[in-house]
């Protein structure tokens, strides 16, 4: 049967997502937030999720809706600070011990996800050595430099925002929309992309940024 990964709706794209899932969510710097899929996940309603997302509190991301809905047990993020003077929903739950936070340097987070998608269970990095974020982590010296052992991140579900997909699931991104998307797409059992356009016609091989091999479902959501 001819491959066609396009599905009719974001709701359909959430089929099979279960309680306890680890969910990778793209978006950083104002671009690439998979907000249509985040809302569909909220409607789908799994509990006890672990979110892997650059910021737990970004004003342009809808991840806070999952947190508000009580669906999230733990967040792995490089930022968890709300912009406002008061406390964000995340910060209130965190203060009350109702949500767990693993704060990770942003590049280490990207590399842990990359490693997860590329079959590398762990690696050493100089980033974070001597800081609170490396407490309890194994340290080894390479070339005279102290390095910290970091473990790979893999997910059950990745929610990625891209610009164009074809029916094979190949993806193209606009500008800074890519950020964590390409790595996250490789590191989850089920990768779903929301795109402006999901076309029948194959994207030219020299334009594709993520191979459809990594992408399971594609939803066209418009701009």
């Amino acid at each position: 049967m001819a491959i066609d990964k396009r599905v009719a709706s974001a709701a359909e794209a959430m089929e099979g997502v279960r309680d306890g899932a680890t969910v990778l969510v793209s978006g950083f710097g104002g671009a690439g937030f998979a907000n249509v899929l985040i809302r569909a996940l909220r409607e789908h309603g799994p509990k006890e999720l672990t979110l892997v997302v650059n910021s737990a509190t970004h004003r342009l991301s809808l991840t806070h809706e999952l947190i508000e809905a009580g669906m999230v047990r733990k967040v792995i993020a490089s930022s968890a600070r709300g912009r406002a003077d008061g406390l964000s929903v995340f910060e209130t739950l965190w203060r009350d011990g109702k949500i767990e936070l693993e704060c990770v340097p942003q590049g280490t987070m990207a590399e842990r996800i990359r490693a997860g998608g590329a079959g590398i269970p762990a690696f050493y990095s100089p980033v974070g050595f001597g800081t609170d974020l490396a407490k309890g982590k194994e340290v080894r010296i390479f070339g005279g430099r102290e390095c910290v052992l970091e473990t790979a991140i893999v997910g059950d579900l990745a929610l990625v925002r891209a610009d164009v997909a074809d029916r094979f699931g190949n993806l193209v991104f606009r500008y800074a929309q890519a950020n964590f998307g390409p790595a996250m797409a490789t590191a989850a059992t089920l990768t779903v992309a929301e795109v402006r356009v999901a076309q029948e016609e194959p994207i030219g091989h020299d334009r594709i940024q993520v191979s459809g091999v990594y992408v399971n479902r594609v939803v066209a959501v418009g701009s």
Partner: protein, 228 residues
């Protein structure tokens, strides 16, 4: 009291950016330095969301939500620019391909340790972002910060009190009254603002500091203050 404003501090840091270099500017005061680069210096500004070759801010009617920097500001691309993903961006940072990163900080220690990510505001979540990656990966780490806290406490210290961003990495500090190098022997005062006496400077600095033999006056053009 004599002091440079934020735009003047950013201007001073920009004067030290070498022609042809690749530079990452932190959110806030550091990013202002891009506006004050001396004419004729061809520099690539990298933003950790993957933009290599950040151009001037986009005009409001030209803003594109997908073309932003790490601080979510709508930007343009300079000629020769490219955009990569987070893995590529931080590979470039960690791999030593960034010549200079200019970061904000709360505290800098005489051995080059610094603290800029967790100000210990009760119950506010941490915000480390890419600071640790930049501090470890860039060939040179420069800091722009006010010389003292609002309460007058020194930010240049023998040891940082706040949680560290990285150890032994800061090379130069631009404050509102001075330019200081961090050397294997500790702080060295390179430039001091006219009107600030050496004794006053020492009193406002929380660690021993050597005075450079060729100590210069810190000067900056008149510039309006920035709110960024």
């Amino acid at each position: 009291m004599a002091a440079l404003n934020r735009n003047q501090m950013a201007w001073r840091a920009a004067q030290d950016i070498v022609d042809g270099s690749v530079v990452n500017l932190g959110i806030g005061m550091p990013v202002l330095a891009a506006d004050h680069l001396p004419a004729g210096r061809d520099v690539f500004f990298q933003s950790e969301n993957g933009v290599i070759g950040v151009g001037p801010a986009a005009a409001p009617d030209k803003a594109d939500g997908d073309l932003v920097d790490a601080g979510s500001r709508p930007i343009t691309l300079r000629p020769g620019a490219t955009v990569v993903d987070s893995v590529g961006s931080f590979g470039m940072i960690r791999g030593g391909h960034i010549d200079v990163t200019i970061l904000g900080a709360f505290e800098v220690a005489a051995n080059g340790d610094f603290a800029n990510w967790d100000s210990r505001i009760p119950n506010k979540g941490p915000l480390v972002g890419g600071a640790m990656d930049l501090a470890v990966g860039a060939k040179a780490v420069w800091v722009i910060m006010e010389h003292n806290t609002r309460k007058g406490a020194p930010r240049l210290l023998e040891r940082c009190a706040l949680p560290l961003t990285a150890v032994r990495c800061v090379k130069r500090v631009f404050t509102d009254i001075a330019v200081i190098d961090v050397t294997p022997g500790g702080f060295v005062l390179r430039e001091l603002l006219a009107g600030v006496a050496i004794d006053e400077f020492r009193a406002r600095t929380g660690a021993p500091i050597a005075i450079a033999a060729d100590l210069k006056a810190l000067v900056a053009p008149a510039l309006s203050d920035a709110t960024a």
